[in-house]
Amino acid sequence: MTSSAATRKFVTRAELGKSLGRVRRLPWTLVLGSVLLTIYILVAITGPLWAPFPYDRIGTGKPFAPPNAKNLLGTDQMGRDLFSRVVHGAGHELFLALTSTALAVVLGGFLGLLSGFVGGWFDEILMRLFEVLISIPVLVFALLVIMAAGLEASGNEWLLVGVVALVWLPRTGRMARSVAIDLVTRDYVLVARARGESAWSIVWRELLPNATGVLLVEFGVRAGYAPILIGSLGFLGLGVRPPTPEWGLMISENRANLVAAPYTVLAPALALSGLVISLNMFTDGLARVLGRQVKRF
């Protein structure tokens, strides 16, 4: 008895050592991605406390002032401080992009896996529906949803989250289904069916753990596109309303001044692409770790 207890303790310790060893061998994309994302999140949370100006303060400098000591990234046409606006915008950006994409990936992933497993008419109808939704151009589709919700609701952040989620949902759904179609032919799914598992249980226990890698990468890519979509809607007057410091909106607002004052677009654009890249690196690295196979002979 004592000897077996001793062995177990030893094993736990050995396994602990192994997992510590794994941390050291994490993919560099995951390490860099999480560092960058942490910075973004820190800025989003603490930014409003230390940003030099409020995001809507007009005339902090001359309009279109180039970067200088007072306005670190320059100012826009109303003389608002771009640095402060970018810092203030981080929170909006992360909230809108992450919530909407997470919603889409969770729902779309579930529907797609279920559809791929159940097959037959259910799959047929759901996929045709998804295809119809995908075939409508993204902006037109978003406009239709906002119109249906009523103009007075436009600008509501939760509506935006819903719109973006609805746009991404059929796309992630199809992706998840294609993964499921491959997975359901595996023998372990057959064994689960022969055991009498419910469809829900098979999706949850057998399919989902094997699809997480793909879904995470999907999340990274979609979360990167979300700010662009939100920005476009803002530009059409249907997204967040000025003077909200949303990066996409800032790019749209200042795009006319691109030649004369490129930094007005550059600041939010760099912030946005940095977010997209770090999100992608993070999810890519995470997918690698989750999908890592222990190498053996």
Binding site: G196, R205, Q293, R296
Partner: protein, 689 residues
């Protein structure tokens, strides 16, 4: 190039693979030579470095590998030090390669003939495209594809596995190479197809004087085809000798164990795996002989000092410190207690008690029609199959791939959309109902084990979840009780309790198959459907699993429906056998009855195609055989198109009668039993053509 020396020589080769954090040697200080016009066989269990060695003969290594030391001398050059472009001129031209899986080796979008032409043109062997085409047609004819011009225009998926492998061999022969490296070229093929390919290779070798390196894990195949055999263990050659010497007087304990654990087709099998204990553990190798941890003769010196091959006779070298003291294989076998796997006498079992009764089973898949609203049409895969299984018995279904073996298992499990006939299980259940309409108790009593444990275990679940799930579902166990039961089951299949929290990819192939068996046992079934459960495993692991299955059966009185194409394994394990051809049974009987004359012509063909690990035995009839034929119009006797003894036209027109030979033995053939009795596969196997 000197005339008398070896054609190619590997000297002191060490190959290492990058394992995430360090370089691991896979092949160590290996020396080997191949003489002109010689077939050298390289055998060993998976992971012993056979393929790595074979690749080195082409100067090829994967990206994650490096050559730490060594030379491969060919035609006065060292292949490991040649530039890529120089290697390209040798590969395919002077040394060619035949891989294991012909389906992935052929490019799916190009006519197979054009793929041969490509090889000829790349090496400027043929000067014009026309000349290359002519040669490709000629090659296709020579590898036994008679209507070459039709085959030339085919895509790979339009050919059978055997035909694809012939095309690959034609491609390897294209530029008249001096050496062909074959890496498990028949492993994925049926025994009958394998026999044809082996015959072709032997034929080509005698007519062209080619040298070959034949890499395989199948000792039967090397006994048929190779002139000299090298046995590999953990990246080293432990013994090399001419064919007859290796099989008659093996000296190294590993060679002895390997030969003893191959299940024999000619004799009722016995438990001989005792000669080979344990498993190759790459990360626990001692400084000395790598086999020492598994060797019954190991002494201190074996663990501490490595031993290189020493010449012990003509052409015979062995790497063992104690080869002079180790008793001969025959002596060791005589001393080992041989235990038959099958304990036929089970007092509890009533002979008339029936667990599963299958009458006139028909199973069909549906083919979707092209029209939008057309109803899918069923296509019959299995037709009119009847057999029964008694409690605690092993019933084996044998036949080539495509014969419908697995379809029967799936039909019993309710996975096939169209099932007809009378299927009664455990007296009360009707098995024609689909799986999602079955009661929980029926689901529990009928369990599945599949061929490939990689696919049948969810890679993202822990062993505890995999084995625990049926316990939760069927017995409502949870918490400590669940854990205790899972650990008991792990012990039942002789796995360490420490595996509880592991993932399947941390286990070896044999251990994973044990987990799959434990999962099936967890439900406490009355019948287990075992679909090719042994074919993905090494011989020594196979022997262990056979032993385990037999032991579990004796302990729990569970019945097995054992589906296999490996007749030697079936002979070891099964109480009764059904032989299946093209969706219909052609012979049913006890194992002894089916494996002794009179034989059904198809049984005879199957048995004669099995290569035995004994150089004195040949595969007589199989060489003339054409392989499984499935065409649109099925003759009354499905086997008529292929039958070597087909007598009259009524084989095509009248369904053959069931001839009853004993209470248990029936075969379905027009040929009278007396005539069938004259063909004895066991004596025919010793006659050389």
């Amino acid at each position: 190039m000197e005339q008398n020396g070896p054609l190619i020589e590997i000297r002191d080769l060490t190959v290492e693979y990058w394992q995430g954090d360090r370089w691991n040697p896979v092949v160590e200080n290996l020396s080997l030579h191949i003489n002109p016009a010689e077939t050298l066989g390289l055998v060993g269990e998976s992971g012993c470095g056979k393929s790595t060695t074979a690749n080195a003969l082409l100067g090829y290594r994967p990206r994650s590998a490096r050559y730490r030391s060594g030379h491969v001398f060919f035609g006065g050059q060292d292949l490991l030090r040649l530039s890529d472009s120089a290697l390209q001129r040798i590969r395919g031209r002077q040394i060619s390669f035949v891989p294991q899986n012909p389906t992935t080796a052929l490019s799916p979008g190009i006519h197979v003939g054009d793929q041969i032409v490509e090889a000829l043109m790349v090496h400027h062997y043929s000067k014009t495209a026309h000349e290359a085409r002519e040669r490709a047609l000629d090659l296709l004819t020579r590898v036994g594809l008679p209507n070459a011009s039709t085959i030339f225009k085919r895509y790979p998926h339009q050919l059978s596995g055997g035909q694809q492998q012939r095309v690959i061999i034609a491609m390897a022969l294209a530029c008249d190479p001096q050496l062909i490296v074959l890496d498990e070229p028949t492993t994925g093929l049926d025994v009958t197809t394998q026999a044809q390919i082996l015959d072709l290779l032997m034929d080509l070798q005698s007519s062209y004087g080619l040298a070959m390196l034949y890499v395989t894990h199948n000792l039967g195949v090397v006994a048929q085809i190779c002139t000299r055999i090298g046995v590999m263990y953990a990246g080293q050659i432990v013994e090399v000798a001419p064919r007859n010497v290796i099989f008659k007087q093996p000296l190294h304990p590993y060679t002895q164990g390997l030969i003893a654990s191959v299940p024999r087709i000619t004799a009722p099998a016995q438990l001989r795996s005792l000669l080979l204990r344990g498993l190759l553990k790459r990360d626990e190798l001692p400084a000395g002989c790598p086999f020492a941890p598994r060797c019954g003769f190991a002494q201190e010196v074996c663990f501490t000092q490595s031993q290189h091959l020493v010449e012990v006779g003509r052409d015979h070298a062995v790497a063992c410190w104690r080869w002079q003291e180790i008793p001969s294989l025959a002596q060791r076998l005589a001393e080992t207690q041989s235990v038959a796997f099958r304990q036929c006498e089970r007092p509890s079992c009533q002979p008339d008690e029936v667990l599963l009764k299958v009458e006139n089973l028909g199973a069909a898949y549906t083919v979707q029609q092209r029209h939008l609203f057309a109803r899918p049409i069923p296509r019959l895969i299995v037709d009119g199959v009847s057999f029964d299984i008694r409690p605690g018995e092993t019933f084996a279904l044998v036949g080539e791939s495509g014969s419908g073996k697995s379809t029967i298992a799936r039909a019993l499990n309710g996975f096939i959309p169209y099932v007809t006939g009378n299927l009664r299980f455990d007296g009360q259940y009707d098995l024609t109902i689909p799986v999602d309409k079955r009661t929980r108790n029926l689901l529990r009593e009928l369990q599945l084990v599949f061929q490939n444990p990689d696919a049948s275990l969810n890679p993202r679940q822990r062993i505890s979840q995999i084995i625990g799930r049926p316990l939760q579902m069927f017995f409502g166990l949870s918490g400590a009780a669940l854990r205790r039961r899972v650990e008991e089951l792990l012990e039942d299949v002789r796995l360490d309790r420490r595996y509880y929290d592991r993932f399947p990819d941390e286990l070896s192939g044999g251990e994973r198959q044990r987990v799959a068996i434990a999962r099936a046992l967890a439900a406490e079934p009355k019948l287990m459907l075992c679909d090719e459960v042994l074919s993905a495993l090494d011989v020594s692991v196979q022997a262990n699993i056979i032993e385990l299955l037999a032991e579990l059966q004796a302990k729990r009185n569970v019945a097995y429906l054992f589906i296999s194409h490996d007749l030697a394994v079936v002979r070891s394990l099964a109480h009764r056998v059904g032989v299946l051809y093209w969706g219909a049974l052609c012979e049913v009987g006890t194992t002894e009855e089916v494996f002794s004359p009179p034989f059904h012509p198809y049984t005879y063909l199957l048995l004669s195609a099995v290569p035995e690990a004994d150089p004195d035995q040949v595969m007589p009839e199989a060489r003339k055989d054409i392989g499984l034929i499935i065409s649109e119009d099925k003759p009354a006797c499905p086997f008529a198109l292929r039958c070597p003894w087909k007598s009259a036209s009524h084989c095509n027109d009248e369904p053959p009668p069931w001839q009853t030979l004993s209470r248990t033995h029936m075969l379905r053939c027009h040929i009278p039993v007396e005539e069938l009795r004259q063909h004895d596969v066991w004596t025919d196997r010793f006659k050389r053509a």
